[in-house]
């Protein structure tokens, strides 16, 4: 019988090594994949991914189911760990277009066998497809790459106000599209 994410997380928080191992096995390809997307260097990504799991173990007791699924929570921790690393050792800034393409092209890489999660991803990807390209870039760079509006403005060669507007409009539109999609699926 498959243990749910919440159960594994609770077991991990309680010091259950088997639960920790199962949790890592379940999410390692996602966590490592996101870390690699942001830091781009496999050895660094491995370190970031390990760090993300240790942080997840440390904060497992504060995880609140009302704030979203475990996968999103864990990946947010991973993104933050990766951004910390990039900010300290930013010697190879990633190409924003490459990151956007990686997220948009639907390449699942090594599948973890969870078809419902794939359905979620397709839903989000379809919503992104409906956004103007410049808003997609701004939202992805902010939400995934952790870039501020000022940094996005510098990279894209646009005024800071424009970058802020793109993030705001893009995220709001994305939310509306996903809400509509939720209602349709319900």
């Amino acid at each position: 019988v498959e243990v749910c994410d919440d159960g594994l997380l609770a077991g991990m928080a309680a010091g259950d090594a088997q639960a920790a191992a199962a949790f890592v096995r379940r999410y390692q390809s996602r966590v490592y994949g996101l870390a690699l997307t942001i830091v781009r260097v496999p050895a660094v990504a491995e370190e970031v991914a390990q760090d993300a799991f240790v942080r997840a173990w440390r904060f497992a007791g504060s995880y609140d189911t009302r704030r979203g699924p475990v996968a999103s929570w864990l990946l947010a921790i991973t993104r933050n760990a990766a951004i910390d690393t990039v900010r300290v050792t930013r010697d190879q800034p990633y190409d924003p277009n490459v990151v956007v393409a990686m997220l948009m092209d639907g390449d699942h890489g090594d599948s973890d066998g969870y078809s419902d999660r794939c359905a979620d991803e397709e839903r989000i990807r379809r919503a992104l497809d409906d956004l103007p390209r410049e808003q997609v870039v701004a939202v992805v760079l902010a939400a995934v790459g952790g870039l501020t509006a000022r940094e996005i403005a510098q990279r894209e060669g646009i005024p800071v106000g424009t970058a802020k507007t793109r993030i705001r409009l893009g995220l709001a539109r994305l939310r509306n599209l996903l809400e509509v999609s939720d209602e349709r699926d319900a």
């Binding site: 999103s72 929570w73 390449d107 939400a143 995220l171």
Partner: protein
């Protein structure tokens, strides 16, 4: 829905708050508003969930072999670090259950001595303690000035555990922290950030260290209880605060 002028001002900032990329006074102000406004808080939570959902699109990649065992080993190491091993049992084969009653008796005896000493010393202490009571009153007045409950001071340490200063937290409205550094091995600008217990990182600007000393203050983006760590970094060195 009670839309206020503050809501109108905060709304354009919510997307940047949701992606964790808002900065400076704008972010501090917007967080203050969100803490008071249910409508904007709900809007922020919705946007944050959408921002986090985007992370699901990252391609999956299998990590190198041995990844899982490396993580489990790191967690085990971290567990040992926060749970010190018990000292060797000097009583040898004596069952543990027999040790606790003896410790209990000693504790009770010690407690009685402390209570007697406290009662006996109270009258003397009260007579001698006028200046302490004045100090306590000033302390209470200062803490309460902005609705605070208690102050807190936490050590700032280097990677090898050397203490190089303190962070002082104030828990009122607004809640803030002051970083006071001394004897820091490297001078220069240290990027400060607050790491929340949900893993979110909040950049808090820069603390400039000159001749080993530096001081900086900023409003806290989360409550003190929600702070997992505060970090101050520059290339080659990281200082950490764990409340």
């Amino acid at each position: 829905m009670n839309e206020t002028p503050d809501c109108e001002r905060a709304r354009p900032l919510l997307a940047e708050l949701a992606t964790g990329t808002a900065t400076g006074h704008e972010r501090a102000w917007a967080l203050g508003h969100v803490a008071r406004c249910v409508t904007c808080r709900q809007e922020l939570m919705d946007l944050a969930r959408v921002a986090d959902d985007l992370l699901l699109l990252a391609p999956r990649r299998e990590p190198p072999p041995g990844f899982e065992s490396a993580v489990v080993a790191r967690i085990a190491d971290a567990t040992e670090a926060v749970t010190p091993a018990p000292p060797p049992d000097a009583i040898g084969t004596r069952p543990r259950s027999r040790v606790w009653p003896r410790i209990g008796v000693r504790l009770v005896a010690a407690a009685i001595v402390v209570v007697l000493a406290a009662v006996g010393g109270a009258a003397v202490a009260y007579w001698h303690g006028a200046s302490d009571r004045r100090l306590a009153a000033q302390y209470e007045q200062t803490i309460g000035a902005a609705g605070g409950q208690y102050p807190r001071a936490v050590k700032v340490t280097t990677a090898n555990g050397s203490v190089v200063g303190h962070v002082f937290f104030y828990t009122g409205a607004p809640a803030w922290a002051t970083v006071a550094l001394r004897d820091v091995p490297q001078s220069g600008d240290y990027a400060m950030s607050v790491l929340a217990t949900d893993g979110k990182r909040y950049p808090e600007g820069v603390c400039t260290v000159t001749a080993g000393n530096g001081i900086a203050s900023y409003p806290l983006p989360v409550t003190v209880a929600e702070i997992a760590a505060i970090e101050l970094t520059r290339p080659g060195i990281a200082l950490t605060v764990t409340p």
